[in-house]
């Protein structure tokens, strides 16, 4: 990790994080990267997603698999971690003591849970009048669908995105990313930052109700306008665009190599024609309407040109000519991309269970107070001593009593069911992965200079 003496922008903000899975932890990860002190609270009998999956470093579950889960690592860097059982009254009491010294509580339980614990917003205000609480239920704190189960993977269907995604003439196509989760998470961060800002001015906290189903609809402004104005529902058009023509994904030299491009106006069309040595086409399909009608023919001409070059060559050539074009990068391509490297986008994180590995870094760059990955994802209950001892003033004996009564613990108190290591060759056989790279560690070490 880069050492820097520049201050972190959210220094001094303390967050109690009860969230689990992806959306909530995503929200608090961003706060942690910006320097907030995020205390992740895990239940001893139900830790966050430390179990299962097939993301162990180098496919080895190790002796403490609950500390070696890559999904957990990526979602929970820049945070501290304690174990605390809110099912027990004394656990809830300790939680209230933490609320008294915190700025923000964030949770994604189903809506009844926190009030049932006596830890709803109205209860917490009694403990700390200016506390901010951000709740992330799936569909909202009340209403006919309030108890529905959502995973990020179904929200894109609920919010209209899946309906407009698909090959021409094909069925709706599921997004490869459960986009509802990180988007819900980002709006969670936004809610926290807005509430902190308001409190600075007014002195009062508030409760934010963030239904994940309310967030992805933000992307649907244009189709919704078309419905209101024209009673028209958008068709599935594959990789084409309703306005720009041509637009598409074209095959390049090599195995499964592609480039994407768009032509937004007649100038870009002329530039594209010149770049591919077909200047005469600029007049032949001079308007977007003509290009839309001849899209199949134009696709064929473009593909004839791209298939003889690498995707990087095509991208460079067309961008030099001012045409929007992008190489279709795999996750591996991303990790070794020269532009992202120059940007310092991936940051190396040295987790005690994995050694140094690059992770996606900051979502934006700040010129004066840059964020950074402040620490690797915490081990289970790693900060019990700091939080119970230093922050709450409990003695060692006091903490031991809590452990004896299972109000806290130092290891998960449930079989974490880590599952077997992944069969990578089988994944390749069934097509989940395009490549199993035996030299990945060496390549990463070399590229990121982590020897």
């Amino acid at each position: 990790m880069t050492a820097t003496s520049q201050p972190l922008p959210l220094q001094g903000v303390r967050v109690l994080d009860l969230t689990r899975a992806w959306a909530g932890p995503y929200a608090t990860k961003i706060l942690g990267d910006m320097g907030a002190e995020v205390i992740k609270v895990e239940a001893p009998f139900k830790p966050d997603a430390r179990a299962g999956g097939n993301y162990f470093p180098d496919n080895d579950p190790g002796e403490r698999p609950w500390n070696r889960n890559g999904v957990f690592h990526k979602n929970n860097r820049s945070k501290l971690d304690i174990a605390l059982d809110l099912q027990q009254p004394e656990g809830r009491d300790l939680f209230r003591q933490l609320v008294a010294i915190s700025d923000l509580v964030i949770e994604n339980y189903t809506p009844r849970v926190m009030p049932h614990f006596g830890l709803g917003y109205d209860d917490l205000v009694g403990v700390k009048p200016d506390i901010i609480m951000v709740s992330l239920p799936g569909f909202g704190k009340d209403g006919p669908e309030r108890d529905w189960v959502a995973y990020g993977t179904t929200l894109d269907s609920h919010c209209g995105l899946t309906q407009i995604t698909g090959y021409v003439g094909g069925p709706p196509h599921r997004m490869a990313i459960a986009i509802g989760d990180p988007v819900g998470g980002m709006f969670g961060t936004m809610a926290a930052l807005f509430a902190l800002h308001q409190r600075r001015r007014t002195g009062t906290g508030q409760h934010v109700d963030l239904a994940q189903a309310d967030t992805l609809t933000q992307f649907m402004g244009a189709p919704l306008a078309d419905w209101s104005m024209n009673r028209r529902v958008w068709p599935r058009i594959g990789n084409r665009d309703l306005v720009y023509a041509p637009q598409g994904v074209y095959q390049c030299e090599g195995r499964d190599q592609w480039v994407a491009l768009s032509v937004r106006d007649d100038d870009e069309w002329a530039a594209l024609c010149a770049a591919i040595g077909q200047e005469h086409l600029a007049c032949r399909f001079a308007t977007a309407a003509e290009r839309r009608m001849a899209h199949d023919e134009i696709d064929g001409i473009i593909a004839e040109w791209t298939r003889r070059q690498t995707k990087d060559q095509v991208m460079a050539c067309l961008q030099d000519a001012g045409v929007p074009a992008g190489a279709v990068l795999s996750s591996k391509d991303l990790l070794f991309d020269p532009h992202l490297r120059a940007r310092g986008f991936f940051e190396v994180v040295d987790h005690p269970e994995t050694g140094p590995r690059p992770q996606l870094g900051m979502s934006w760059k700040l010129s004066e107070t840059p964020g950074r990955i402040t620490r690797p994802a915490p081990l289970f209950a790693e900060h019990n001593q700091f939080v119970f001892g230093r922050l709450l003033g409990l003695s060692d004996a006091g903490i031991e009593t809590l452990e004896a009564r299972k109000i806290t613990s130092t290891v998960p108190l449930v079989d974490a069911r880590p599952g077997a290591p992944g069969d990578r060759q089988r994944w390749k056989r069934i097509g989940l992965v395009s490549e199993v790279d035996p030299d990945y560690k060496e390549k990463l070490r070399e590229f990121y200079g982590t020897d």
Binding site: L193, W258, A260, S330, R357, L366, S367, I430, G431, E435
Partner: protein, 399 residues
């Protein structure tokens, strides 16, 4: 009305989607947003549509009307010396400037970060571009599909054995705008401690790449490269879209629920079926699983399927069209979609608040006509008289 960001003044120099969307979110939660557009053509989104009856008109573009709610509109040519000076006067009295021009463009006009900070050291400048302000690809042109391609998202989506498939609409342009809000608010917060603003650099490529957490971890931990497997996901099956009697449903069944799925689709032996013992088994035999599921789904409507599945606590949901979303009972209960009236096109149902703050109501007001508030902003904010304003109009600096 007191709202979260009532104390912030924002100048929106953006065009298209990302930067205007960032400013729109700030405005929805109370910021005073002044949109600054070039006289004549205005924001490029005015030419994008959709339009009523598909007849282009700069005051009737659905995309523009959606992205520019809660803003006042000024038409000002910032490429002129006078226009530049006027903008700097507005910056003097502002907290945030949001823009999406190619890196270096504002600098070339004498309106780069250092120029703005010289006039107002507390200004936060948020710049959103395709590839960021720095690096070998800085300044490259970007559209939604280019962002999808270069962020890793496109490669892993679509059917095996054919070209990858982009997600419909423009989710990654919006994502860049969301990140800009977060970066802006972080900078505003930090300003209290440092006394100074700063430059926020948002790259659409990097914003979208953040969705690739699982894929990149698969490589850094296991050396495997995730690829596309059709309308499915690598965590197990069914995580997919299935047809039913009256449309499509989305099903997400975590591996530990294989018994319950058998119960749901009236196949009690499913849990013991050797084809479906582990998540990888389910993926490998996904076609068989789909066939069993469809025997059940094709007999039922979406409502019936979702109701039965949700009763068993399983994450099934409708594949909604835009029209159907507006009819969804939960969205109606929450008043999520809001009708915004327009003198030009009548009411449009827009999504309302992405989250509900107990102390900061969201009220959407319609997008401004080009130059609708030029006079009132110049008079009200900068104290210009009628004579000055008329002169500027004659010179073509404002409209």
């Amino acid at each position: 009305m007191e709202q979260a960001l009532s104390d912030l003044v924002v100048l929106d120099l953006g065009e298209g989607i990302a930067a205007p969307y960032c400013a729109r979110l700030l405005g929805a939660y109370g910021a005073d947003v002044i949109k600054v557009e070039p006289p004549g053509r205005g924001d490029s989104a005015r030419a994008h549509g959709p339009f009523p009856g598909d007849e282009p008109h700069p005051e009737m573009s659905g995309l523009y009307l959606y992205l520019n709610t809660n803003k006042r509109g000024v038409a000002l040519d910032i490429s002129t010396g006078t226009g530049r000076d006027l903008l700097l006067e507005l910056v003097r009295r502002a907290d945030v400037v949001v823009e999406g021009h190619p890196p270096g463009y504002l600098d070339s006009l004498g309106l780069g970060y250092t120029d703005l900070a010289a006039v107002n050291p507390r200004i936060v400048l948020s710049s959103i571009t395709g590839f960021g302000q720095t690096g070998p690809h800085a300044g490259y042109a970007d559209t939604e599909i280019v962002t999808a391609a270069t962020s890793g998202q496109l490669y892993i989506q679509g059917d095996r054995g054919r070209e990858p498939l982009k997600t419909g609409g423009t989710p990654f342009a919006y994502t860049a705008g969301i990140h800009a809000v977060l970066g802006t608010m972080t900078a505003v917060w930090a300003r209290d401690a440092t006394g100074r603003g700063q430059h926020v650099d948002v790259s659409a490529q990097e914003s979208a790449a953040h969705f690739l957490q699982q894929s990149t971890t698969w490589y850094t931990y296991l050396g495997v490269v995730q690829t596309r497997i059709g309308s499915r996901m690598p965590f197990g099956h069914p995580f997919t879209i299935l047809p039913c009697k009256d449309g499509y449903i989305a099903a997400t069944v975590l591996p530990q629920w294989i018994d319950t799925i058998g119960l749901l689709i009236e196949q009690p032996d499913l849990a013991n079926d050797p084809r479906f013992l582990t998540p990888q088994d389910c993926i490998e035999n996904a076609d068989d699983m789909d066939e069993l599921m469809m025997r059940w789904t094709m007999r039922l409507t979406r409502d019936e399927i979702v109701e039965r599945a949700q009763a068993l606590r399983m994450a099934f949901d409708h594949v909604y069209t835009t029209e159907e979303m507006l009819e969804d009972p939960q969205y109606r209960h929450r008043g999520h979609f809001v009708n915004v009236e327009h003198p030009t096109v009548g009411p449009i149902a827009f999504p309302g608040a992405p989250f509900i703050m107990s102390d900061s109501p969201v009220v959407l007001t319609r997008a401004p006509r080009l130059g609708e508030h030029t006079d009132s902003v110049l008079a009200g904010r900068l104290g210009l008289g009628d004579g000055d304003i008329a002169r500027l109009r004659d010179q073509g600096v404002i409209a």
